[in-house]
C-alpha cells in the first residue's frame, strides 16, 4: 500500500466522524425536522374554514416559540449541564410530539376530518389558554388547589395519626381496624349524596371527601409499615436507652417511611379523582367545575384547555411529591424512580 492510498483510506472515516460529530452537536435534529414540517404545513396549507376563527394564530406562535427554544437551547444553556441534560436523549420523544401536533392540526384545522364540535383545532385550544389564562389559573386552579391541599393535608395528617395509633397501641388497633376495613374500601365519591346534604357547605363536604380518600391508604400503609418493622430495631434502640415515645418517633416512623410514602402516593392519586368528581357534581368552582360547565355549553376548546391545565398541575404535584420522597428516603437503596 502506498502512502497516498493510506491517506485516502484514512480520510474516509475522518470525514464520516466529522459529519457524525456535526450531527450530534446539532442536538435534537429529528425534533427540529418534525417541528419544521409542522411549521411548514401550518403556514402553507389554508385552514378548512369549518373551525370557528380565532383572533390570532396562536398555534403558529407556539411553534415559533418551540423552534426558538430548540435552536437556542444549546447556545443558551451551554454552561448549565443540568439544563443541557434535560434535552439529551429526548430527541425521538419531541419529534413524536411534533408529529402528533402536525397530524392533529391537519385533522382538525386544515381538513376538518374529525367532528368540529368535539375536536377543536390547536389554535382554538391555545387561544382559550391564552385569553382565559387569568381566569383559568387564578380563579379555577386557585380554588381547586385550595380545596385539594386542604383536603390532602388534613387527610394525610389524620391517616398518619390513626396509622401510628394502630401500629403502636392494641386498643387503638382493636377499635380502628374494623372501621378502616369497613369504611376504607368504599370509594369516597360514593358518599357524595350523603356528604352534600350533611355538610354545611359543599366546599367543606368536598374537603372531607378528599381527606377521606387520602386518609384510608395513608392509614393502612402507615400502620402496616410500623407493624412490619423488625422487632430487633426496637430492641436495639431500647438497649441504647430509648424510651417508648422516642422509639415511636425515631425508630417506628422512620422505618415505616417507605410504606408511608406509598400510602400518601395512593392517597394523592385518589384525591385527584375525588377532587374532580366533587367539583363536577357539587362544588361550584374549580377546574373540574369549569370543564363540566364548558362541556355543557359544548365549548370543547375550553374543555381541552382545562384538561391541559389539570395535566400540567397534577404532573407538577406528583413530580414535587417524588422529589420530597427522594429527599426523605435517600437512605434507601435501589429506590424506584418516578
Amino acid at each position: 500500500m502506498t502512502a497516498e492510498n493510506a491517506d485516502l483510506a484514512a480520510e474516509g472515516p475522518v470525514l464520516n466522524k466529522a459529519i457524525l460529530g456535526g450531527l450530534k452537536a446539532l442536538s435534537g435534529v429529528k425534533a427540529i425536522l418534525a417541528l419544521a414540517l409542522c411549521l411548514t404545513l401550518e403556514i402553507t396549507l389554508p385552514p378548512s374554514g369549518v373551525q370557528p376563527p380565532v383572533d390570532r394564530q396562536y398555534f403558529l406562535y407556539f411553534l415559533i416559540l418551540c423552534a426558538a427554544v430548540f435552536l437556542l437551547w444549546p447556545a443558551l444553556f451551554f454552561k448549565k449541564p443540568s439544563l443541557r441534560q434535560a434535552m439529551k436523549g429526548k430527541d425521538d420523544f419531541y419529534a413524536a410530539v411534533f408529529i402528533f401536533l402536525t397530524v392533529l392540526n391537519l385533522l382538525t384545522d386544515k381538513f376538518a376530518v374529525l367532528p368540529v364540535i368535539f375536536f377543536p383545532s390547536p389554535d382554538r385550544v391555545l387561544s382559550v389558554l391564552v385569553e382565559d389564562f387569568t381566569y383559568l389559573i387564578v380563579v379555577c386552579l386557585g380554588s381547586s388547589a385550595k380545596l385539594l391541599l386542604t383536603g390532602f393535608f388534613s387527610g394525610a395528617l389524620a391517616g398518619l395519626v390513626t396509622g401510628i395509633a394502630i401500629g403502636f397501641s392494641k386498643p387503638a388497633a382493636y377499635w380502628l381496624n374494623p372501621l378502616i376495613k369497613i369504611l376504607g374500601p368504599i370509594p369516597p365519591t360514593a358518599w357524595i349524596p350523603i356528604v352534600l346534604v350533611a355538610f354545611p357547605t359543599t366546599w367543606s363536604g368536598a374537603c372531607f371527601l378528599i381527606a377521606l380518600s387520602v386518609w384510608f391508604p395513608t392509614s393502612v400503609m402507615t400502620s402496616s409499615g410500623i407493624l412490619n418493622v423488625q422487632n430487633a430495631y426496637f430492641e436495639v434502640s431500647s438497649t441504647l436507652g430509648a424510651k417508648r415515645l422516642y422509639q415511636i418517633f425515631l425508630v417506628g416512623i422512620p422505618a415505616a417511611m417507605p410504606l408511608i410514602f406509598t400510602g400518601l402516593f395512593s392517597g394523592a392519586c385518589a384525591s385527584f379523582l375525588t377532587l374532580m368528581t366533587a367539583e363536577m357534581v357539587g362544588v361550584k368552582n374549580g377546574i373540574g367545575w369549569y370543564i363540566n360547565w364548558q362541556r355543557e355549553m359544548l365549548s370543547y376548546a375550553n374543555v381541552y384547555a382545562g384538561l391541559i391545565i389539570i395535566a400540567i398541575s397534577f404532573y407538577s404535584l406528583i413530580t414535587l411529591f417524588f422529589k420530597v420522597r427522594d429527599r426523605v428516603l435517600v437512605w434507601q437503596k435501589g429506590m424506584i424512580k418516578w
Binding site: A232, E235, S237, S238, T239, G241, L250, V330, W331, K333
Partner: protein
C-alpha cells in the same frame, strides 16, 4: 474471684490491672444470675424451658464466653441480662441492682448489626446519646468512637454502603458510646469471614483493654472463646443449663496455637462431645 483464678493459673503473667483497671475500682459491671429459670409459652399452649436454674456470676471487667449447642438458651440468658426478657423464676442483678428492663448501662450487639438504615453511620453511633438527651454535651464522642472502631471516615455514609465487618464495628461503636457497664455480644462475629473475624477479635480485645467493660459473648466458635475470654461457660440444652465453667488463664496477647491453647480447646470440645471428631491434627485439610 477472677483474679484469684488467674493467680493460681500456671501460665499467668497477667497483671491484675488487665482485668481490674483503675476505672473499674468502683467495682461496677458485676452480673449475678441466681437460679434463673425461663419458660416460654407458645400460643398453642405448649411450654419450652429455655433455661433451668442457671446461676452465674461475672466479675467487673471480666470477659465471659457462653458456648453450647443450638437451643441451649445462650441467647435467652443474654436477653435476660439485657432486660429484653423477664425471668420466670430467679433474679438477675447488675452491681446488686435488679435488672427489670433494657437500659443503656447494658449494651447489646447481635449477629446482625441492625444499624438503623435511615441514619448515616454518624447518627447511628449518636443514637444512644440522643435517646438519652445527652448528645449536645457529648458531640465529640461520636467522632472518638468512630475512630475507636476504625470508621472515622465513614460518618456520612449510610449503612447499606458498609461491608459486614464495618457494619458490625459500627454497631459496636453504637453500643459502646453509651459507656455501658456491661457489653453483651450475641454471636457478634458469626456472620463474618475468617479473616475479618480474627481482626474483629483483636479489635474487641483492644477495646476491652481500653474501656474495661464487662463483656459476655455468645459464640459457636471454641477457638474464639479460648482466644478471647477469661472464662468460658459451657451450656447444655434440654432444658438449658450451665454444664461447666472453664478458666482460661492465659496472658494476652494470646497465640492461637500454643499447646496450652490447643489443650483447653480440645477440653471444651470434649465437654461438648465433639472431641473425637476434632482429634486429628487441626491443620490437616
Amino acid at each position: 474471684m477472677v483474679s484469684e483464678a488467674l493467680i493460681s493459673a500456671p501460665l499467668n503473667q497477667v497483671p491484675p490491672s488487665e482485668i481490674l483497671g483503675p476505672d473499674s475500682e468502683r467495682a461496677s459491671g458485676v452480673i449475678e444470675a441466681e437460679r434463673v429459670t425461663k419458660i416460654f409459652s407458645h400460643p398453642d399452649g405448649s411450654e419450652v424451658t429455655a433455661l433451668k436454674n442457671v446461676s452465674l456470676k461475672v466479675g467487673a471487667g471480666e470477659f465471659v464466653s457462653l458456648i453450647g449447642p443450638s437451643g441451649c438458651g445462650k441467647s435467652t440468658l443474654l436477653r435476660l441480662v439485657a432486660g429484653l426478657e423477664r425471668a420466670t423464676e430467679g433474679s438477675l442483678r447488675l452491681d446488686g441492682k435488679l435488672i427489670e428492663r433494657p437500659d443503656a448501662e447494658r449494651g447489646l450487639v447481635f449477629q446482625n448489626p441492625y444499624l438503623f438504615p435511615w441514619l448515616n453511620i454518624h447518627n447511628n453511633v449518636a443514637f444512644g446519646l440522643r435517646a438519652r438527651s445527652v448528645y449536645k454535651l457529648n458531640k465529640e464522642l461520636v467522632a472518638q468512637y468512630l475512630d475507636l472502631v476504625g470508621l472515622a471516615k465513614f460518618g456520612r455514609v449510610y449503612p447499606h454502603h458498609l461491608s459486614g465487618g464495618m457494619a458490625q464495628r459500627a454497631s459496636l461503636a453504637r453500643a459502646l458510646i453509651n459507656q455501658p457497664r456491661v457489653l453483651l455480644l450475641d454471636e457478634p462475629l458469626g456472620a463474618l469471614d475468617a479473616f475479618t473475624r480474627m481482626n474483629m477479635q483483636d479489635e474487641i480485645l483492644r477495646i476491652r483493654s481500653e474501656k474495661r467493660i464487662t463483656m459476655i459473648m455468645v459464640t459457636h466458635d471454641v477457638d474464639e472463646a479460648v482466644y478471647l475470654s477469661d472464662r468460658t461457660v459451657v451450656m447444655t440444652p434440654g432444658p438449658g443449663r450451665v454444664e461447666t465453667i472453664i478458666d482460661i488463664p492465659f496472658a494476652r496477647p494470646r497465640a492461637r496455637n500454643t499447646p496450652d491453647f490447643l489443650r483447653l480447646r480440645s477440653k471444651i470440645l470434649e465437654i461438648l462431645h465433639f472431641a473425637g471428631h476434632f482429634e486429628e491434627p487441626p491443620y490437616q485439610i
